[in-house]
């Protein structure tokens, strides 16, 4: 078994147009972690998340994946292994099926997905097969988010990056989606990195927490640091409640 961490970020910084968004971040993520990155909006959480699948590059510092520089992997292959679900689940025009079969646009035709595969991935995200031929314009926000999840799962990823996947959903639905994500985490033995500003939702499921405030990781550790944060910045952030 490889003892290298899954991801290793060393002194990673990111600035755009002279503005520092991420400042000297060092972080290790082990396979099987459910890491929640918490922090107020504008703290750089999404910017950080986009580095893990190479949608952006850091301005300074290095990122390693399984012991090798992240950008030494062919990007298209890496992004299948490190899947991402965005805050706003973008659907391409057409039916749910069209969206699930998106990868067919560039994969070899031999990888044609069987109907059973689609039905079973829908079951994993708690959707009925009846939705397959519905136009994505007619499905709800919660359903879209689950279709987006299913779309990523079809790539059989090792890691799931989740960028506030519940931000646009009502609290009840948000809880349901987080529960679902946790189920997938267990069932598929995924590593999950999830960004959120709402820690109350995650405390039950997450295995590790990192607080990202003002572009810096101010505190990081097991889930229980939510109960006893050691830095004043995090205490202040938590005292304000879910923003």
């Amino acid at each position: 078994m490889n003892k290298e961490p899954l991801f290793r970020l060393t002194s990673v910084s990111k600035s755009i147009g002279g503005k520092t968004l991420l400042d000297n971040i060092s972080l290790q993520i082990e396979a099987g972690d459910f890491l929640s990155i918490l922090g107020p909006s504008g703290a750089g959480k999404s910017t950080l998340l986009r580095l893990f699948n190479g949608l952006d590059s850091p301005t300074a510092g290095t990122i390693e994946y399984q012991g090798k520089p992240l950008f030494s992997y062919p990007m298209t292959g890496l992004r299948k292994r490190v899947g991402m679900v965005f805050q706003n689940p973008v659907m391409v025009r057409g039916t749910v099926r069209d969206n699930l079969l998106l990868t067919q646009r560039w994969e070899q035709p031999s990888t044609n997905l069987a109907e059973e595969t689609l039905v079973s991935v829908l079951a994993q995200v708690d959707l009925s097969p009846a939705i397959l031929d519905q136009d994505t314009k007619t499905i709800s926000g919660g359903e879209k988010q689950r279709v987006a999840l299913a779309r990523v799962l079809l790539n059989k990823p090792e890691v799931l990056l989740l960028d506030e996947p519940t931000a646009n959903l009502d609290p009840q639905l948000a809880r349901r989606i987080v529960r679902l994500i946790h189920q997938l985490f267990k069932q598929l033995k995924l590593t999950i990195i999830m960004v959120s500003h709402d820690y109350s939702l995650l405390s039950k499921y997450t295995t590790r927490i990192a607080f990202l405030i003002g572009g810096r990781i101010v505190e990081e550790g097991a889930a229980d640091i939510l109960e006893q944060p050691s830095t004043e910045t995090v205490k202040t952030f938590l005292a304000k409640g879910a923003i």
Partner: protein, 268 residues
């Protein structure tokens, strides 16, 4: 060429100034206040076109292929510069090279086919054929590339989230922008296809009108026009595909990341 039926003299042209005089009278009567501008415009038309006539006469007297090829190259270079200037709102890397290179390729291919295989002009650089046809191809190609590039950038701005979603699923850049490419080329093609549909039904095209006025048999004029229409559509398709094939690559890094900053206007 058959003989011109109606030779128009400089005196005739001066008489046509009566038309402008009528216009001047009308705008004066209605106090629109553009007399001076209209007068300057009228004079400029006269001077610029008269000068152009002499320049063309000089060009048409040249009988060396190198001169003709240099002249057409110069026309392409000017068009490339104009295309680059029109795109000043956005910073597309290497755009001048892309547009000029694409124009060079397209113009010489299409021009070659027409001069050699369709008209079979002797010699192939015969200026009476080469210069006007090259001018038409370049002008049309330039307008079309401007249209298609602008539309492509518009599509990227509108679909940036969709493109990044596709990239995050492992799509290559080309696939992530496939719909944007298609829409951009369609937008530039549709006006041309419409004119293929409507030509001759509503308006007689300019080239044909000019030829008929100068005494060419309408059936010959029509054949020319048909060739020109086919030439236009082919030019537009080749040049647009070529330009976009290079332009879309400018919007991605070698790591297949969307270069979002290029989608922002230079002067907000």
């Amino acid at each position: 060429m058959s003989q011109s039926f109606y030779v128009i003299t400089w005196t005739d042209v001066l008489v046509s100034f009566v038309l402008v005089a009528i216009s001047l009278g009308l705008i004066r009567w209605w106090k629109i206040g553009l007399e001076k501008t209209l007068l300057i415009g009228t004079l400029r038309t006269f001077v610029q076109l008269a000068a152009m006539g002499y320049v063309l006469t000089f060009f048409f007297q040249q009988r060396h292929w190198l001169f003709m090829v240099t002249l057409v190259s110069l026309m392409i270079l000017i068009a490339g510069f104009e295309g680059y200037r029109r795109e000043k709102e956005f910073r597309i890397p290497h755009y001048f090279v892309i547009i000029t290179g694409s124009l060079f390729f397209t113009v010489f291919i299409v021009l070659g086919i027409i001069l050699k295989f369709i008209l079979d002009v002797q010699p192939w650089y015969y200026p009476y054929a080469m210069i006007p046809i090259a001018g038409m191809i370049i002008g049309n190609a330039l307008n079309s590339t401007t249209l298609t590039t602008n539309r492509f950038i518009g599509e990227l701005q509108h679909r940036d989230q969709e493109i990044e979603m596709l990239l995050s699923l492992g799509a290559p850049a080309r696939v992530a922008v496939q719909d944007s490419l298609r829409n951009a080329i369609r937008a530039a093609l549709i006006p041309n296809i419409n004119s293929l549909m409507m030509v001759g039904l509503v308006q007689l095209p300019g080239v044909m009108t000019g030829q008929i006025l100068s005494g060419v048999d309408p059936l010959i004029a029509v054949r020319y026009q048909i060739m020109i229409m086919y030439m236009w559509i082919t030019t537009v398709i080749i040049v647009d595909i070529l330009v976009l094939a290079f332009v879309y690559r400018q919007f991605f890094t070698p790591r297949i990341q969307l270069r979002r900053h290029l989608l922002l206007k230079k002067y907000p």
